[in-house]
C-alpha cells in the first residue's frame, strides 16, 4: 500500500516533486550529494498540510539535539504520552519506554539530561524516542552518524523490525550500508528519481572508496553479468563472481 503525498516543494534547494507517493512497509533509500535538499525534503514531509490526512509520520533529524527537548531521558521518551498537568500516563507506556531504553542501552541514563549525553547517545535517544511513538512512516536523516559499530548493528536490527509494519525512508552517504538495507529508493538532485539503489549507485556513486566497490564498477563498465548492488554484501559478491567464473571455466577449483 502506498501513501499518496502529492506535491512537495523544497524551496532552498530550488526543486519540487509532483504526484509523489511513499511506498508501503519496507526500507526505502534516499541518496544525493551534499546540498541537494534531502534534509529539507524530510522536513517538508512532516510539515503541516503536506502529509496525508491520518498518516503518522515521524522524523529523526540530522542533528538530534533539537529533538531532545525534555529535562531527562525518561521525560524525553514519555512526554508525548503524558496527560494533564500532573503528566500521568498509562502503565503500559512506562513499561514499553523502559524496554526500548534498555534495547538502546540507555537504561542507566534515565535521569540524565539529554544534553549531557555524548553525540552517539543523543542519536540513540532520538531514535528510541521515535520508536516509542511507533509511526507508520519513519524518516531517518543520516541515522548512522555518530553511532559506533555496536549500535550500527543494533540500528540494522531495528530497521528490519520496523520495516515489517512501517515505511522507513533513510538517507545516508554510506553506499555500502544503503545498498545492503535498501533495494529501491530515490536519487535526490534537483528533484527525485526513483530506481533500484544498485542502479542509482552505479549511475551517481562517483569515485569508489573501497576496492570491492571499484572492482564492481569496473565489471559493470565492461558489461559483466553482475548485479550492481551485490558488492555491498561480501557473500553475495563472491557468489556472483564464482558463478561467472564457473560458467567460463576459468577457475579449476572453487574454494
Amino acid at each position: 500500500m502506498a501513501w499518496p503525498v502529492g506535491t512537495i516543494k523544497v524551496p532552498l534547494a530550488g526543486w519540487q516533486v509532483t504526484d509523489w507517493s511513499l511506498p508501503g512497509p519496507g526500507i526505502w533509500g534516499l541518496a544525493g550529494p551534499n546540498g541537494s535538499g534531502k534534509s529539507q525534503f524530510f522536513s517538508q514531509l512532516v510539515a503541516w498540510g503536506n502529509k496525508p490526512q491520518g498518516l503518522r509520520v515521524g522524523l529523526v533529524m540530522q542533528n538530534p539535539r533539537l529533538q531532545l527537548t525534555e529535562a531527562t531521558v525518561w521525560d524525553q521518551m514519555t512526554w508525548p504520552f503524558q496527560r494533564g498537568w500532573s503528566g500521568r500516563m498509562k502503565p503500559a507506556v512506562a513499561t514499553r519506554a523502559e524496554q526500548i531504553l534498555a534495547e538502546w542501552h540507555l537504561e542507566n541514563y534515565r535521569t540524565s539530561a539529554p544534553w549531557e549525553l555524548s553525540g552517539g547517545m543523543q542519536r540513540r535517544l532520538a531514535l528510541a524516542s521515535m520508536e516509542i511513538l511507533a509511526p507508520e512512516v519513519y524518516l531517518l536523516d543520516e541515522p548512522l552518524e555518530g553511532l559506533d559499530l555496536e549500535h550500527r548493528v543494533l540500528l540494522d536490527t531495528k530497521l528490519d523490525q520496523w520495516s515489517k509494519t512501517a515505511s522507513v525512508l533513510v538517507s545516508s552517504h554510506v553506499w555500502q550500508w544503503l545498498l545492503v538495507h535498501t533495494e529501491w529508493g530515490w536519487w535526490c538532485d534537483q528533484g527525485l528519481t526513483w530506481g533500484r539503489m544498485g542502479e542509482i549507485w552505479y549511475q551517481h556513486g562517483l569515485s569508489p572508496e573501497l576496492p570491492l566497490e571499484a572492482l564492481w564498477r569496473r565489471l559493470l563498465d565492461k558489461g559483466a553479468p553482475v548485479t550492481p548492488e551485490a558488492w555491498a554484501n561480501l557473500e553475495r559478491a563472491r557468489n556472483e563472481v564464482i558463478c561467472i567464473c564457473q560458467n567460463s571455466h576459468q577457475i579449476p577449483s572453487i574454494p
Binding site: 551534499n34 534531502k38 540530522q62 552517504h173 562517483l206 572508496e209 569496473r218 576459468q250
Partner: protein, 254 residues
C-alpha cells in the same frame, strides 16, 4: 605531544571522564583514536585544544612547553557538529575568523581566507550564508576554516560526518596534503577507513586505553577475504584491475 597521566573529571561524576591516560604523538604522525559512544573521545579533543582544564597530569610538546603556554591556534579542532563552531554569517566571513586573530595585517587575512576557499573549492560559496548550506557543506567550511588558521596539530572529530563522495575525496586529499606538510593529525571517529589512513590506531574505552581492542574490520580485510574466497590463498596481492581481468576479460565499454 606528550600526555602524562592525564585525568579529567566532570563535576558531579564519580568516575573520571578521561584517564589516567598516557600518550605520545610524534611530530608529523597521524593517530586514529576510536572507541564506543561516550568513551571520552570528544573530551580528549577538548583537553588537547586547551579549552578544558586537567584534573591532574600534564600535557607538553616536544620542546617541553606546557599546554597552557602553546601559541594561540596551535591546535586546530574540527568539531563533531560543524555549525557549532561557526560565527560568521557568510562562508568567507567565517573562514576569515581564525586568520583575523592570528595575522598582523588585513592583507594576510585576505590571502589566507582566499587560499582556504580555493583549496576547498568554496569560491562560489564565499558569499553564501552558512545557514543556507547543507550539513555536508557546513562540515567542509569548518575544515577550510581550520586549514586557514594553519595549526601545528589538527584534531578532526568525526571528520567524515555527513560528507558525500566529493566531500570525502577532498577531505582525503586534504589529509594527504597535511601529512606531506608534516602536520600532526589526530582523527577521532568510528569509521574503520581511518585505520588505513592513520599511522596507528588507539582504542578508548571508558576514558582509558582498551587493552584488547577486539576485532575491528579493516576495509582491506574485506577485499582480501573476497579475493581469497574466489581465487585461493596466494592471490591476495592482486590489484583491482587484475582481478577484474581474471573475472571478465576485456575492455571497458564506458
Amino acid at each position: 605531544m606528550i600526555l602524562d597521566r592525564v585525568v579529567v573529571s566532570y563535576p558531579a561524576q564519580l568516575h573520571p571522564a578521561l584517564g589516567p591516560l598516557d600518550l605520545t604523538i610524534r611530530e608529523g604522525e597521524c593517530v586514529f583514536i576510536t572507541g564506543p559512544n561516550g568513551s571520552g573521545k570528544t573530551t580528549l579533543a577538548r583537553v588537547l585544544s586547551g579549552v578544558m582544564q586537567l584534573t591532574s597530569g600534564r600535557i607538553t610538546n616536544g620542546a617541553g612547553e606546557d599546554i597552557a603556554d602553546w601559541a594561540p591556534g596551535y591546535v586546530g579542532w574540527v568539531q563533531q557538529n560543524p555549525i557549532g563552531q561557526m560565527v560568521g554569517t557568510t562562508v568567507a566571513e567565517d573562514i576569515s575568523l581564525g586568520p583575523r586573530w592570528l595575522s598582523s595585517t588585513l592583507d594576510q587575512v585576505r590571502r589566507k581566507t582566499s587560499a582556504a576557499l580555493t583549496e576547498f573549492r568554496l569560491e562560489s560559496k564565499g558569499n553564501q550564508s552558512i545557514h543556507a548550506l547543507s550539513g555536508g557543506w557546513q562540515h567542509q567550511v569548518a575544515l577550510a576554516a581550520v586549514w586557514a588558521q594553519d595549526p601545528g596539530i589538527i584534531i578532526l572529530d568525526e571528520p567524515d560526518t555527513m560528507l558525500d563522495r566529493h566531500g570525502l575525496g577532498r577531505l582525503m586529499r586534504w589529509i594527504q596534503h597535511l601529512r606531506q606538510r608534516g602536520s600532526t593529525l589526530l582523527i577521532l571517529g568510528h569509521n574503520p577507513r581511518w585505520m588505513v589512513v592513520a599511522d596507528r590506531t588507539a582504542v578508548l574505552d571508558h576514558g582509558v586505553w582498551a587493552h584488547d581492542p577486539g576485532p575491528i574490520p579493516i576495509p582491506d580485510q574485506e577485499w582480501v577475504s573476497f579475493v581469497d574466497g574466489v581465487f585461493g590463498d596466494n592471490t591476495r596481492n592482486l590489484s583491482v584491475c587484475e582481478v577484474s581481468e581474471r573475472i571478465w576479460p576485456g575492455q571497458s565499454a564506458r
